[in-house]
Point group: C2
Chain length 259, copies 2
DNA sequence: AAACCTCATCCGTAATATTGGGATAGGGTC
DNA sequence: GACCCTATCCCAATATTACGGATGAGGTTT
């Protein structure tokens, strides 16, 4: 049930401690649940919980009802700020929201998934369920596809990974790949309700000083607010917005360092 | 150099792993620095770094130049959302900023410190250095004092702790304590440039369904924007704002469960 | 251009820290 | 009041970790 690649030898205790953290994040609130989820013995799990609690990685009321702790909040924001991307993108994305009134996201890739890093809700339409810190499939979201534009060799792999549950018809897969080629040329992508029925978005890639894709931005709305012609109109807007963020990150043109 | 209370037995490896995380958060970017900071051996530290990197708690470019990783971002936001406070407070705080144009903070207490949980920058004055995820002394900030209002027995202790470097005159300490008594009665506190010269703020306590203080809010600005009469005018405003957040958390009146 | 230095990475064994079952204690429920 | 479930503590067997040294790569100085 626990799909960790290869627990490197010599760190079993740390690995188990991190498993405990994951278990609590996944909703385990007491010792028994943590044991079941992780497969660790009562006694051992209890000891790990104790330390994590003491250090603030977990919070508990006298040993029961565990939840993620304030230290994770501290380190999480610290991690966020160690990258310049969220900071430089923020004001630019706020302008975008003010002008177009739809919800805007900033995301990076992590471990084969989209990781939302910032979200600014638009002033109209339904509130989206997404939040900073959430993960989504790469190949099923506009913002995820924008993160993949430089790596054609991963397109098929990611598509298959994200459609493992219900394998689609081969022509769907072919259409995805051919669309990706078009998206790659224009530097922007579309999401036509692939991930969430009724939700459409336009996304674009953000690059750093060496030309590598380090993030992506998207603007999303429910389909009444996102007819095709509006999406087409937003393509150059998102492209320009992403470019201005990229430039603040030192992106100078079209160089793409592959060394 | 490492001031951890008592590393509980049976979890040395996990404790060291967390120390490594702290070291990286503190600016250690390579193996040597981590070793120096934590006192762990080269080989051992390397192994821990490897696992933390693999699990996304750290990010590295082929083993050098470590920084905090995306998993911490994920878990950090997760920790944030496990409490209802930031979510219910957000829209109310946004209204506050729109009306008064100064910077607003939301904070909780953690480990004897203020932990900022949200920040909305005002539209005027200098940008404040604070950020969500940062820590500050309890006794030297308005928002920290608001977190302490229910616990008179900790006032002196916290004051002494936060002034250990340069011990102030006894009358300063006495004045602090007498002001705290006044603040406790009105449910709001002031910060008269005690922590940051030139920065003043008005803060108020947020309570949950059982009447316990679970958070605090503050509005801050540089002193030209915060003359005494404006501060006085903001006291009832902050009190009401905090109360409306408290009510959304189930706070029903004045009960204060001390069981 | 070659030698030198520093750093990350890997390995093997000695020794240590960890494991997990069982016993204890504290709450809550029937 | 008895019972059941849970968290907590303890201890000996054991598997795990720690650490010094060897290897290799990268960069700098002579």
């Amino acid at each position: 049930m626990n799909g960790h690649a290869v627990p490197p030898p010599g760190t079993q205790t740390l690995a188990r401690g991190l498993d405990v953290l994951r278990a609590v994040a996944g909703g385990a609130t007491d010792l028994k649940a943590v044991c079941l989820e992780t497969g660790i013995g009562r006694s051992t799990a209890h000891r790990l919980l104790q330390l994590l609690d003491q250090r603030g990685y977990l919070r508990s009321s006298q040993g029961v009802d565990y939840s993620l702790g304030p230290t994770l909040i501290e380190l999480g924001f610290h991690a966020l700020y160690q990258s310049p991307v969220p900071t430089v993108a923020r004001p630019i994305l706020e302008q975008l929201v003010n002008k177009y009134h739809d919800t805007v996201h900033l995301a990076v890739e992590d471990g084969g998934k989209v990781l939302y890093v910032d979200k600014i809700s638009g002033s109209r339409g339904a509130e989206m369920r997404s939040r900073a810190g959430y993960r989504m499939p790469l190949s099923r979201t506009g913002i995820g596809k924008a993160l993949l534009l430089d790596e054609p060799e991963r397109w098929a792999e990611m598509f298959d990974e994200d459609h493992a549950e219900a394998v689609p018809a081969p022509e769907i897969r072919a259409k995805f790949l051919s669309r990706m080629r078009v998206y790659a040329q224009q530097g922007t992508t579309l999401d036509l309700e692939e991930n969430e029925p009724g939700i459409r978005c336009v996304a674009a890639s953000v690059r750093n000083g060496s030309g590598a894709i380090v993030a992506a931005i998207s603007i999303s709305a429910t389909n009444p607010y996102m007819p095709m012609d509006r999406m087409r109109a937003l393509v150059p807007v998102m492209h320009q917005t992403a470019l201005s963020i990229s430039k603040k990150l030192g992106y100078s043109g079209t160089l793409r360092d592959m060394s």
